[in-house]
């Protein structure tokens, strides 16, 4: 039922409420569309001026003779229904309603009217009360958020506006590549499930991140999320985790079935990775979008300090991953480079004296060994080595072997450590400032692997 192809690949896009005033949302969105490099038709709609930013304006969408698939609606709320009618008559397929002042302030009727009119013309509605959307494969940034979104493979759906815009900026800072950003706002029509159906099929997306306050049709979400999760990981930040789930206590089950418990169960059942914080979600996005899927769950930890190793092992254990003895041939190889007192159990302790070359050789050997499924590298900044040097050594090993199995790196220290993390991030090697975060992000991949197998098994049984 949901065909959002034209939303993400429009033949032409009109901005209703395009303004010359640089402080107006209608101006900023048009500017982003133009400057981010959208190459197809861009049509400002504004009856009171002849041109905006050097583009000819139109008094109404129906006066544009070229094909327009999407209208961005940035005008006062009461004028929206009329604009929808005009766009609908002109054959527009999707209305992206930026305007606010609908259900979020109690104007339910006005919102329903917008959807009703859109439906009459077979048009879908994104929003209202949103900051717009991005689809990098066609260089489309129709938001009033930051312009220079990094193209990549992560789709981000957000129900929160302000936090969503802010996180758009965070993706740039964190070096996270984006395929799409979709502000869903009031979800009057298009919702998470519709978008997941699209991203499931979208070859440009390999991970989906959702900031969710709630869904209206939980069963449909479970169905659609179960399907996409077999192919691509879906990470959710669910807001309102502490809300008490009180409901009429006529039944025991009812008194226990709080909102939070049900969402968590739904996520688990559909293989969705639930996170507690933005930081955790972004950490997971990095491993899940930059690393390949691990073939198994045998993790080897390589460290230059016992403390960092213990912190990482404990974190992994909390996530249900228990370290086993590394394969013998790997141990033999590493033994050649290490001093006799180095511990060759798991974590492999290269000792505090480990130079960059030891990192290079041990990481390379771990990446090459078929008895190891994922590699966690920990480095504590010592006086003997430079963090950037170690980062280069790790990146060199990855480069030489190729990206064949998951890797996660912790560079622990001060400003130089931060530089080293940035270096790895630029190379799309997940790197973090603490052993716990690096371990937990790697564990997310192993968890997803289990979820995925579970979903596939369920489907096999069903068919």
């Amino acid at each position: 039922m949901s065909n959002l192809k034209d939303l993400f690949n429009p033949r032409g896009i009109a901005v209703i409420g395009a303004s010359r005033d640089p402080t107006k949302i209608g101006h900023i969105i048009l500017k982003n569309i133009v400057e981010y490099g959208y190459r197809r038709g861009i049509y400002p709609v504004n009856p009171s001026v002849s041109d905006v930013m050097g583009l000819k304006t139109y008094p109404a969408v129906s006066t544009i003779s070229d094909k327009v698939d999407v209208v961005i609606v940035s005008i006062p709320n009461t004028k929206v229904p009329e604009a929808i009618d005009d766009a609908g008559k002109a054959g527009v397929k999707h209305a992206v309603v930026i305007a606010s002042g609908f259900k979020e302030i109690g104007n339910v009727d006005l919102e329903n009217e917008v959807v009703r009119r859109a439906r009459r013309h077979g048009m879908r509605v994104l929003g209202p009360n949103i900051f717009g959307y991005v689809y990098t494969p066609v260089r489309l940034n129709a938001t009033f958020g930051p312009r220079d979104v990094i193209p990549g493979n992560v789709a981000f759906i957000t129900q929160s506006g302000a936090l969503g815009i802010a996180l758009m900026g965070s993706t740039i800072l964190e070096g996270i590549g984006i395929s799409a950003i979709v502000s869903v706002g009031n979800k009057s029509d298009i919702d998470d499930a519709d978008l997941l159906e699209f991203f499931d099929e979208d070859p440009n997306t390999s991970v989906v991140l959702i900031y969710m306050e709630g869904v209206s049709d939980g069963r449909r979400f479970v169905n659609v999320a179960s399907k996409i999760s077999m192919k691509k990981p879906v990470i959710v930040i669910k807001s309102g985790r502490t809300e008490a789930g009180a409901r009429a206590a006529a039944s025991h089950t009812g008194s226990l079935a709080g909102n939070v418990a049900l969402y968590e169960s739904a996520f688990k059942q559909s293989g969705v990775i639930s996170t507690k914080s933005v930081e955790e979600a972004f950490d997971f996005v990095k491993t899940l979008s930059w690393n390949p899927l691990p073939p198994g769950d045998r993790v080897v930890v390589i460290t230059n300090g016992g403390g960092a190793g213990v912190q990482a092992s404990d974190t992994l254990a909390d996530d249900g991953i228990y370290l086993e003895k590394p394969p013998q041939d790997f141990v033999e190889e590493v033994r050649k480079i290490l001093p006799p007192f180095a511990s060759l159990a798991n974590p492999v302790d290269l000792t505090g004296m480990a130079p960059e070359d030891w990192y290079y050789r041990s990481v390379k050997s771990a990446l090459q060994n078929s008895g190891i499924d994922a590699v966690l590298v920990l480095y504590c900044h010592t006086a003997l080595t430079s963090p950037v040097g170690v980062a280069r050594a790790v990146a060199g090993a990855v480069d030489e072997v190729g990206v064949r199995k998951p890797i996660s790196v912790a560079i622990i220290g001060g400003l130089e450590a931060y530089e080293a993390i940035k270096h790895l991030t630029n190379l799309k090697i997940p790197a973090y400032p603490t052993p716990e975060r690096a371990a937990h992000a790697l564990a997310a991949q192993l968890k997803y692997r289990k979820y995925r197998e579970y979903l596939i098994k369920k489907e096999q049984i069903a068919s």
């Binding site: 479970v222 039944s251 089950t253 739904a266």
Partner: protein
């Protein structure tokens, strides 16, 4: 499932939001769920006949649309071992209810097999506004009351989902057998949860259903529902 529908329609017609205990039990039976043997008596003679048929010991409980806490009004007599005791208990319950809950309608007296106690679990279902039919599982008593050690799944369920939800609770080790206690009949439990999911999925009027307690016996012996409570939506 014509009979199941009839039970629900009857309650609706009578303006009841709760099924009577024997109706809930019957609903479970119709869906193939294992319930402790029971019968509804509307006379002392009938109570004796039912007790004879299902075998001693039995329990007698008042069934009334007006009474929700049966023990508070002296509406329950446990550990009945003879025909004479059945007659006595029947009279006692009727007298107690008349004294402590005057004017309450009595639909009958439930005569139920008093079964051997063992590990108790709770299996429930609710119809959620967002997720629709949802099922719950947990260990009974303190585990559910205090620790809230329960798991949920959205229906429809696969057998794999049910396995996961059983294993998910913290007290799962108790079901696996510990300190020499025997492992429990997980297969029977799985079956029970799946069938409860069908009830809540099939019958749209049901807002909540509690099977509490369900006695879960050692592997191969099965499970028995002791008490079932069904709430219909407004």
């Amino acid at each position: 499932m014509r009979e199941a529908r009839e039970i629900v329609e009857k309650a609706k017609l009578e303006g009841r939001r709760k099924l009577l205990e024997h109706e809930s039990m019957r609903l479970c039976e119709l869906y193939g769920l294992p319930v402790a043997k029971y019968g509804l008596a509307t006379s002392e003679k009938e109570a004796v006949a039912i007790a004879r048929e299902i075998g001693f010991p039995v329990v007698l409980k008042v069934v009334s649309p007006d009474i929700s806490h049966k023990t508070d009004v002296g509406g329950v007599v446990l550990g009945i071992n003879s025909v004479g005791e059945v007659s006595d208990a029947y009279k006692t319950i009727v007298a107690n209810v008349a004294a402590r809950a005057p004017g309450s309608r009595i639909s009958g007296i439930l005569v139920q097999k008093m079964v051997e106690r063992d590990i108790e679990v709770i299996v429930g279902g609710i119809r959620d506004r967002v997720f629709g039919p949802v099922v719950m599982f947990g260990l009974g008593g303190v585990f559910v009351e205090v620790l809230k050690d329960v798991s949920f799944r959205i229906a429809p369920l696969t057998e794999l989902d049910v396995e996961e939800m059983i294993r998910e609770i913290k007290g799962y080790k108790i079901l696996e057998g510990y300190r020499g206690s025997q492992p429990r009949d997980i297969e029977a439990l799985k079956n029970l949860i799946l069938k409860l999911a069908s009830i809540i999925s099939d019958i749209e009027e049901i807002e909540a259903i509690d099977l509490n307690p369900v006695i879960l016996y050692p592997r191969g012996i099965g499970a028995l529902i002791i008490d079932a409570r069904t709430i219909l939506g407004e």
